[in-house]
């Protein structure tokens, strides 16, 4: 039977190293199958997160041959098998053990976002054409691959100032909800630091749900921030009138 050679990161907060495993290949096999084989036969304490194994829960994110992927959707027959397949944990988050990282920061960012709040007295009617663009954002499975590749987080480690693509997608879903009655523009600017994003589109490239994060979520939200806070005409009007606005 054909075999693949895996180099899987084994270690914890203190450090670690790749360990080599040989895994028999079956038709249609994905990387997560190989990791399960390793757990079941070679290294029972290999730490891996997974749940649905069908690309719906976003648990099994890792970096396969340097590419951030869901391991349940990464086919072995799409990888070169003449060289070892490397599997490493997501780089942007602290390692707990092996492929499992501490993603709790994401849950803390989420708590900064004001929840859905409908306009008072709305009639609960919505049309598909208005719902369509928000449903794109609601597809997010929180695999955090976009957070992992975003250079503001990955290279510059601006966890304190920046929310990351996942949470711009969440804010976009709330802001563009047809019955939304609350503005989150100030939160976007001050708490989630959307200005730090310089639209390199790395997040969009890795999204397994093919959400057009940059084009459909981040850019329209940046425009809202600009309209609210940096429109020169509006700034002048506000100065003259001394009017209290959401920005003021």
């Amino acid at each position: 039977m054909a075999e693949a050679i895996f180099e899987v990161f084994r270690g914890n907060r203190e450090g670690g190293q790749p360990v080599t495993y040989r895994v028999p290949i079956a038709p249609g096999m994905v990387v997560l199958d190989a990791l399960h084989h390793i757990q079941g036969h070679l290294a029972p304490d290999l730490a891996v997160r997974w749940n649905c194994k069908a690309g719906k829960c976003g648990s099994c994110s890792a970096e396969v041959n340097g590419r951030p992927r869901l391991t349940c959707k990464t086919r072995m027959d799409a990888l070169p098998l003449d060289q070892p397949i490397t599997v490493r944990p997501m780089k942007s988050f602290p390692v707990i053990k092996d492929l499992v990282t501490d993603v709790s920061w994401n849950y803390r960012v989420n708590q900064k976002i004001p929840p859905f709040s409908p306009r008072p007295g709305v009639e609960w009617k919505m049309y598909q054409r208005d719902v369509d663009r928000v449903q794109e954002f609601r597809k997010c499975i929180e695999c955090f691959l976009c957070q992992n590749v975003c250079h503001v987080l990955r290279e510059h480690e601006k966890m304190e100032e920046f929310g990351g693509p996942r949470y711009f997608v969440r804010v976009a879903a709330l802001e563009m909800h047809p019955l939304n009655g609350k503005s989150r523009v100030r939160v976007l600017k001050d708490e989630l630091g959307i200005g730090l994003c310089n639209i390199t589109k790395c997040c969009t490239e890795v999204c397994p749900e093919e959400i057009r994060i940059t084009d459909n979520a981040i850019i329209p939200l940046k425009e809202r921030v600009v309209d609210e806070f940096y429109d020169p005409v509006l700034m002048l009007v506000r100065k003259i009138r001394g009017a209290k606005t959401e920005a003021g």
Binding site: D45, N51, A54, K56, C57, P115, V131, R138, H177
Partner: protein
């Protein structure tokens, strides 16, 4: 030995953070209770996220003739009349309100042309009834509940597993568990507990269920003295993927058939004409699963031992819009474009109708302070669950359990937990590390899955079930002597060793109940007793712990009141 552990105090502790657990938490919080939610995975990854087709609720947005009575009748008929009538009634009556609530919390369902929530057809439902979001309804539901719960301020204990319920006399008073991350112990003191841990599918080899589905909640409740009911009724979903091997068992949503998908065998015959000419592909799951199994067994299966499911007669854009995750799933995992050709599908272990026996109104178990909702509870679905009735079950009875548990906690003075129970739970949890030589838990789990798959599957007979009980005894013995490698730091081998105990307990309850029921009804098919038996139709199997042994007895199905009998007699 003196065990190190941290302690947390709550009025209501909820074990499980899927739809039922989160919905219970929201309702308990609304009544002012201090609520803790413990979950084995990260928040938002529970199995509810996998639900695809929709939430059944008689909102009558599409078919205006629909009402709770019809939903009630469909549910009872689908369950072959073994359902608890009161649960089926409450479920049908309250589901629409629970769906509207989700919308008010931000969920965005697909719409009708006049701006209402769109509903689709599904097996066993007389009318188009399933509120949905393409084929990712569960994701929409869990995200909505998760955001609502976080907003209201639930304490969430992620990646934390409960291994034992703690008692104060007769009453539950808390739970003992461990943090998966560091392996440290934790004790939760609580006046009431809601079990919302889902099902048991991981005891079978071919399953749509994730690693979490090991029957923990049922085993915990059983250990604490609660009754389990209807354990023989395990649903095999008719359509799981069959090829390639790695994806075997992954769910193919019933929405494919709801949207017009057609089943054929390798000869091109639309075989459902033979098994249910009236409802065809939209027959109930038990019937369709047996049909596919029979076609394969009789030599008319596809290349990889399944049936063809074809939706390619519909326009490609429509398929991609209504079944987007199926489109991607087949394209990426099986190299099949479902807009151009058929899928190969076969039965997969999917859902547990049985579980913890509860009172209909309050979701209360037979142990004071202990409640259960969702898949972990029994009663609503009887012998077979209709598609779409699970998500509505989670909402209706999650809410009811949360309310009842919060009220119960209010009435209860402080509880206390003695350290003996905690020490014992800690010793049991650490035992696999003490044994330096022993089998790997993975090997025992594989053999358990083989046993349940081969001997306690879709078709059963006495001989197989007796053999299964013998095998389970051996597996229990082996599990007593297994050992795990490594440390307590995020160690899946250790986690599996502890989950195995739950799987072995529920597997035994399933097998004993299946052996006792000498008839075929719903999801329980006995080759040696192929027909319905009216005596058995009036009885539920109930499993309780008797010392270290498992005891089984029968309990009469609660009789229907006359007004509901009337509804059932109506033909529609």
């Amino acid at each position: 030995m003196s065990t190190d552990y941290e302690t947390h105090d709550h009025d209501v502790l909820i074990i499980g953070a899927g739809g039922a657990g989160l919905r219970a938490a929201i309702s308990a919080l609304a009544l002012g209770a201090k609520v803790g939610v413990v979950c084995k995975s990260l928040l938002g990854k529970a199995h509810t996220v996998m639900a695809e087709g929709g939430i059944a609720a008689a909102m009558a947005n599409v078919d205006t003739a629909d009402d709770w009575r019809t939903h009630f009748r469909d549910t009872m008929r689908g369950g072959k009349m073994l359902n608890h009538w009161r649960m089926a009634q409450l479920h049908a009556q309250e589901a629409p309100e629970r769906v509207r609530e989700l919308e008010q919390w931000g969920a965005l369902f697909d719409r009708t042309p006049d701006g209402q929530i769109l509903q689709r057809a599904f097996g066993g439902h007389t009318f188009r009834r399933l509120c949905h979001v393409g084929d990712r309804t569960g994701l929409e539901m869990i995200r909505t509940l998760q955001d609502r719960g976080v907003q209201l301020g639930i304490d969430v204990f992620m990646e934390c597993t409960v291994t034992r319920l703690l008692k104060d006399g007769n009453r539950v008073a808390g739970a003992f568990g461990y943090w998966r991350e560091q392996g440290r112990f934790v004790v939760f003191r609580a006046k009431s507990i809601v079990i919302a841990t889902g099902g048991i599918g991981k005891a079978w080899k071919i399953t749509s269920n994730s690693w979490e589905y090991t029957g923990d909640g049922m085993a915990l409740a059983y250990g604490a003295g609660a009754e389990l009911m209807d354990m023989e009724f395990v649903q095999f979903h008719p359509t799981g993927m069959v090829w390639p091997p790695g994806v075997q068992g992954i769910l193919v949503t019933e929405a494919v058939r709801g949207e017009g998908g057609i089943l054929r065998n390798k000869l091109g015959q639309r075989f459902m004409e033979k098994y249910d000419p009236k409802k065809m592909e939209l027959s109930t799951r038990d019937v369709v699963a047996r049909a596919i199994y029979t076609e394969v067994r009789e030599g008319r299966g596809t290349e990889h031992g399944g049936a063809y499911l074809d939706i390619s007669q519909k326009p490609a854009d429509y398929v991609k819009k209504k079944l987007p995750s199926m489109y991607h799933q087949f394209k990426e995992l099986a190299d099949v474009d479902i807009t151009k050709g058929p899928m190969e599908v076969g039965p997969t272990c999917h859902y547990m109708m049985g579980g913890i026996r509860v009172e209909a109104e309050s979701a209360k178990s037979s142990v004071p302070g202990l409640f259960a909702a969702g898949e972990a509870a029994a009663g609503l679905h009887g012998a077979n669950r209709l598609g779409g009735n699970s998500l509505s079950d989670l909402l209706v009875f999650g809410h009811r359990a949360g309310v009842a548990a919060a009220e119960d906690a209010k009435r209860t003075p402080a509880v206390s937990v003695d350290s003996t129970q905690i020490e014992q739970a800690a010793r049991e949890a650490l035992a696999p590390f003490e044994r330096k030589v022993g089998e790997s838990p993975y090997a025992i789990h594989r053999d358990l899955q083989e046993t349940m798959q081969n001997l306690v599957g879709i078709f059963r007979d006495r001989e197989d079930l007796i053999r299964a009980l013998e095998e389970l005894e051996k597996l229990k013995e082996r599990a007593e002597h297994l050992s795990v490698e490594g440390s307590r730091l995020f160690n899946p081998g250790w986690h599996l060793a502890l989950d195995l105990k739950s799987m072995l307990t529920v597997s035994e309850a399933v097998t004993r109940s299946a052996l006792a029921r000498q008839e075929s009804r719903g999801a329980h098919s006995r080759i040696d007793y192929p027909g319905l038996d009216s005596t058995w139709g009036a009885k539920n199997n109930v499993t309780v712990r008797d010392g270290s042994a498992m005891a089984l007895h029968q309990s009469p199905v609660p009789p229907l009141p006359d007004d509901l009998k009337q509804i059932l007699a109506e033909e529609k």
